[in-house]
């Protein structure tokens, strides 16, 4: 796990934290609309969830397919508590997410114990099975989970603390932002604790860890419970944002989204999941509103990332920072830009074909004409398909050429580091 410090240095790390805090503080000033605030709040929730997921995947080397069990447990725990508060329980709403976290951590004591007896594929399969089990149970127990309609609550319930109630979206956003800052700091600090050090060691070489006095399963178990706690906090915050929790919060697709976007953001980096969380919300809220084929585009992006940059977006950024520090970005940025543009070209071609395919299925209702990037194209016209296909192939071909060129440039640059450092 590369930390902030290796990439940025100790002073740079302080600036990064300051910037992080400022962005959290000032973001609502930029995105004032109701939708903007809602998206920001959801991003905050996703940041905590993805960071907690990376505690398992990036630091502990544990590929979980059931992280939604714990975000979901936090959400339902928070929702039940919220309803009790509405009924007169004297528990401040500020502490509802914490309660969600505690409940999820409690649930992880038995479930995490079962999961972490094994590592690798067996661990992944157990989390998958437990995820399905909990999801199915939630659908079968309407008295606890509210059945089809789910459970609803009112976050404005209970007495206001210092005159602040959380009915207003702005107050809610700052409650979330505060949780994001504290949870991020706690998870970052965890890496420098004895448990955090040994957790990374377990990922690298569990056999050796066992000969150093540590029980690898115990290390994995504790990390699992801590990850579940933070996931539960995220779930509790989500319950406050949506004021509803349905059995969907436990769904396999939810667990899959944590895996996918944490990976896209970059598992080898502490900050990677933060990037992933932003992508997650933008994809789920925006992209899914734009096009019906959004899952397909997401799949293409994921495959491309796994093949081209297995360290995620964060690894690409870190590489650029490294190049810039060595004064090499000046020589390489044109190649990177060319790669990005050709990739975009290929993607436009692909997207045109995908959109036409989707339109053909709905031809009876909507006709075969569609508007794509401002251009009106006909899904039944051969020319549209030829044009889109050529765009895709041209983009792919040029991308290959640019990538080859970049690799050559990079080799040339790496081969002569001394000559460059002198300049």
């Amino acid at each position: 796990m590369r930390g902030l410090q290796q990439t940025w240095g100790a002073t740079g790390e302080r600036w990064l934290w300051l910037g992080y805090g400022l962005v959290l503080l000032l973001a609502p000033g930029v995105f004032r609309s109701g939708l903007g605030l809602s998206i920001l709040s959801q991003i905050g929730v996703a940041i905590i969830a993805c960071l907690s997921y990376n505690l398992l995947l990036g630091q502990g080397g544990m590929l979980s397919f059931g992280h939604a069990v714990y975000t979901g447990a936090g959400a339902f725990g928070a929702m039940h508590l919220l309803r009790l508060i509405e009924g007169g329980l004297a528990w401040p709403v500020v502490l509802v997410p914490l309660a969600g976290g505690l409940l999820a951590g409690l649930l992880a004591l038995p479930l995490g114990w079962i999961s972490t007896r094994r590592s690798g594929v067996a661990f992944a399969m157990i989390t998958l099975a437990l995820g399905e089990l909990v999801w199915a149970s939630a659908q079968m127990l309407p008295s606890v989970f509210g059945g089809e309609g789910g459970l609803t609550g009112n976050r404005g319930a209970g007495p206001a603390v210092f005159g602040i109630g959380f009915g207003s979206p702005m107050a809610l956003y700052y409650l979330i932002a505060a949780h994001v800052l504290v949870c991020t700091a706690l998870m970052a600090a965890l890496r420098r604790t004895p448990l955090g050090c040994m957790l990374v060691a377990v990922r690298d070489n569990p056999q050796r860890v066992a000969f150093l006095g540590y029980d690898p399963n115990q290390l994995r178990f504790l990390a699992f419970v801590l990850a579940a706690f933070f996931a539960g906090v995220a779930g509790g915050l989500a319950a406050l944002v949506f004021e509803i929790a349905t059995s969907e919060v436990f769904s396999a697709s939810r667990s899959g989204a944590y895996l996918l976007f944490t990976y896209l953001g970059g598992t080898p980096f502490f900050g990677g999941p933060i990037i992933g969380a932003v992508l997650m919300v933008l994809t789920l809220v925006w992209l899914s509103g734009w096009t019906r084929a959004w899952l397909l585009y997401l799949g293409v992006l994921f495959v491309a990332m796994v093949l081209l940059a297995p360290g995620g977006v964060a690894s690409v950024l870190a590489h650029w920072v490294d190049l810039a520090r060595r004064g090499l970005l000046r020589r390489l940025w044109v190649s990177y830009l060319a790669m990005a543009l050709t990739a975009l070209l290929a993607f436009v071609g692909l997207a045109a074909m995908v959109e036409m395919l989707y339109r053909l299925q709905l031809r009876d209702a909507l006709g075969s004409q569609l508007l794509f990037l401002g251009a009106s194209i006909d899904a039944l016209d051969v020319n549209s398909w030829v044009g889109a296909g050529l765009t895709l192939l041209t983009g792919l071909g040029l991308f290959g050429v640019c990538r080859h060129q970049l690799q050559r440039d990079q080799q040339a640059v790496d081969a002569a580091p001394c000559a460059l450092e002198v300049r």
Binding site: P194, D204, A210, F211, L212, G213, Y214
Partner: protein, 253 residues
């Protein structure tokens, strides 16, 4: 460890892999503070013996006593907590961790940090002092922040030994500590082993006979899973059976 008791006692130790008997009824008594060399041809069961003592494998039959306490069948981390450390023939380092972090992992349990997750390791703590001392001992000061995967082969061997030393074990099992090292590196490691095993007990598997005969106070010769001889280096040199087993390849015969 109670000095009156043997540091390590093996009683009728056997290990079968299916129908193959890797070790057959091995018995051995090691006194506290002894340096024992274990030699034998390939496939004699030397590494399996280390696996049994350190808990990586459970014996098929027999007992292992560490300072008078039964440890056969215990998991590696429990045995490790009783003061036993081992190194590996093929380096088992933590490739993505820095050299200093590798050593830190070896130090933490001994200093009582256990599974602590509520307090950070501060700069300048006892852990850092130990790590610095270890870095100097295995001559890796210049590689402090280098990820272990970037180390050369010999440096990884040095780190491997360093991780084992980090636990400051009373009984140390070293599996070919000088394998793949050049003369000067090997000399340094031998001197280091001599230094760190003062007052400790050492069991060492080694193919370099000069190293074994120079370092060990007694030598156990393992052939096909049985103990052929267990005696002082002089006696081993003079032993006809050993000479036959090794076809006269022992130095100075």
């Amino acid at each position: 460890m109670n000095p009156v008791l043997p540091a390590l006692e093996l009683k009728g130790l056997s290990k079968c892999h299916g129908a193959t008997e890797v070790l057959r009824g091995l018995s051995l008594l090691v006194r506290p503070g002894e340096r024992i060399g274990i030699i034998g041809p390939n496939g004699a069961g030397k590494s399996t013996l280390f696996d049994l003592i350190s808990g990586a494998q459970a014996p098929s039959a027999g007992q292992i006593l560490l300072g008078g306490q039964r440890i056969d069948g215990l998991s590696p981390f429990r045995i490790s907590r009783l003061g036993l450390g081992r190194s590996f023939q093929v380096s088992q380092v933590f490739p993505s961790l820095s050299v200093a972090d590798n050593l830190r992992c070896g130090v933490l349990w001994r200093l009582g940090y256990r599974y602590r997750f509520w307090a950070r390791l501060r700069a300048g703590s006892d852990v850092d002092a130990e790590v610095d001392a270890l870095l100097a001992r295995v001559r890796l000061q210049g590689r402090r922040d280098t990820p272990a995967r970037q180390l050369s082969y010999a440096e990884q061997r040095a780190l491997e030994l360093g991780i084992t030393l980090a636990g400051d074990p009373q009984l140390m099992l070293l599996d070919e500590p000088t394998a793949g090292m050049n003369q000067s590196e090997s000399r340094h490691v031998v001197a280091l082993i001599r230094e760190v095993t003062q007052g400790k007990t050492l069991l060492m598997v080694e193919h370099d006979m000069a190293v074994v005969f120079g370092l060990a106070e007694r030598i156990a010769v393992l052939v096909q899973g049985t103990l052929l001889a267990f005696d002082t280096p002089q006696a081993i040199r003079a032993n006809r059976q050993v000479q036959q087993a090794y076809l006269g390849t022992l130095p100075g015969l």
